[in-house]
């Protein structure tokens, strides 16, 4: 097993597993809040088409959790809006 963090929690993944699958297996269902209404989103299509499952992964926003394989030590964070809040002033 490899481990990564999600919003500060330790999560285990099997080698080759995607971030989205590992989060679902750990009982998490959402890791993004929509831009306008802050509604929770997680996996919908699961195959890289719909872009609903975007997350901030190791500092990079807008990563498709359903396609991105976990790397040991990844830091996955719930993405708020477009994921560029750090640019707001």
């Amino acid at each position: 097993m490899i481990t990564f963090s999600f919003d500060g929690k330790h999560i285990e993944a099997e080698p080759g597993q995607t971030v989205g699958a590992a989060l679902i297996a750990a009982g998490h269902r959402s890791w993004r809040l929509t831009r306008k209404d802050g509604k929770a989103r997680g996996i919908f299509c699961g195959i890289g088409v719909c872009f609903d499952c975007l997350a901030t992964i190791s500092g990079g926003p807008n990563q498709r959790a359903c396609l991105t394989e976990v790397r040991p030590g990844d830091v996955v964070e719930t993405q708020e809006g477009a994921g560029h809040g750090d640019l707001a002033c």
């Binding site: 679902i24 297996a25 989103r41």
Partner: protein, 293 residues
């Protein structure tokens, strides 16, 4: 060959950048076959896919498994394979095309073969954006590709034979499938002898799935579908409606569940041919399809 490519900003530009005779977009059954055929004729071929492993949806497999037919697996040795690459733009050039893909690649080619496949057609309903509502294909991808059952109590809904293996697979993996709700009337085609005679093996395959559903006591309803998903943070239940032959709601009932797998057949992924200005047509089932150059 580049099996070990990992997606990430630290990945160096490799010799895969450069010039090819043929770029095949999509490493499912069609793309793998096209790449194998082109390579066998001596073409320099690059095969690009967004997923980490070849096989597409049909031959989806877990890391460490191998589900590809041996000839296609062997053919991969003769091409440059770029998994985990997302194509975001293709431009026409004097000598063909330049493909722009993430992470950080520009690939020139004389010919593009689009084999991007299809994804679940959706009919939106109230609550369809709640976490816990998945496409049927997404639930299948989690199971086949990741070894993860998407939920505990699962409603499977939509149209078409794909719903049956999804429900059977979930049950066999330990999920509780509260029902398969098929909006159409799948026996309608039995009245068309030509369609029937051409698809005898499919009928046996379908019968096999129905036997598997019965083994797990999964209710199978026709002319019925999910019309609403309930919950605030995640799915807590669905409203299932009985439909008449025009898909007008006749009656409704509520079922407790935490997961919905829904799909109304499949529709082709057409972003690339549309971006390239290919002529598009509407297929018999209402799908938008590419046609011509």
């Amino acid at each position: 060959m580049s099996w070990k490519h990992r997606k990430g900003p630290d990945m160096a530009i490799s010799p895969a950048d450069g010039s090819y005779d043929i770029a095949v977009l999509g490493a499912g059954p069609a793309g793998l076959s096209a790449a194998a055929a082109a390579a066998a004729q001596g073409s320099r071929v690059v095969l690009i896919d967004a997923a980490p492993r070849p096989g597409g949806q049909y031959w989806r497999h877990r890391a460490g498994e191998d589900r590809l037919p041996a000839p296609l697996r062997a053919a991969l040795e003769a091409v440059t394979f770029l998994p985990s690459h997302a194509i975001w733009h293709i431009e026409r050039t004097d000598s063909g095309f330049t493909i722009h893909a993430l992470p950080d690649r520009e690939i020139d080619c004389r010919t593009v073969v689009v084999a991007t496949g299809a994804y679940d057609r959706q009919l939106p309903f109230p609550g369809w954006t709640l976490p816990g509502v998945f496409t049927a294909g997404g639930v299948q991808a989690l199971l086949k590709g990741q070894g993860v059952v998407a939920g505990n109590r699962i409603a499977v809904a939509g149209t078409g034979p794909f719903l049956l293996p999804v429900a059977a697979g979930l049950a066999e993996a330990g999920g509780q499938v509260v029902g398969v709700f098929e909006a159409g009337r799948p026996t309608a085609f039995l009245r068309h002898p030509l369609a029937l005679s051409r698809n005898v093996s499919k009928i046996f395959e379908g019968a096999g799935y129905l036997r598997r559903l019965r083994r797990y006591r999964i209710p199978f309803s026709t002319r019925t579908t999910v019309v609403q998903a309930h919950g605030t943070e995640s799915v807590t239940g669905v409203t299932v409606a009985r439909l008449d032959s025009n898909w007008t709601i006749v009656s409704k009932r509520r079922i407790d569940c935490d997961t919905v797998a829904v799909g109304y057949g499949f529709t082709p992924q057409t972003e690339i041919p549309r971006q390239l200005g290919c002529e598009m047509v509407v297929d018999a089932d209402g799908s938008l399809c590419g046609q011509g150059r």
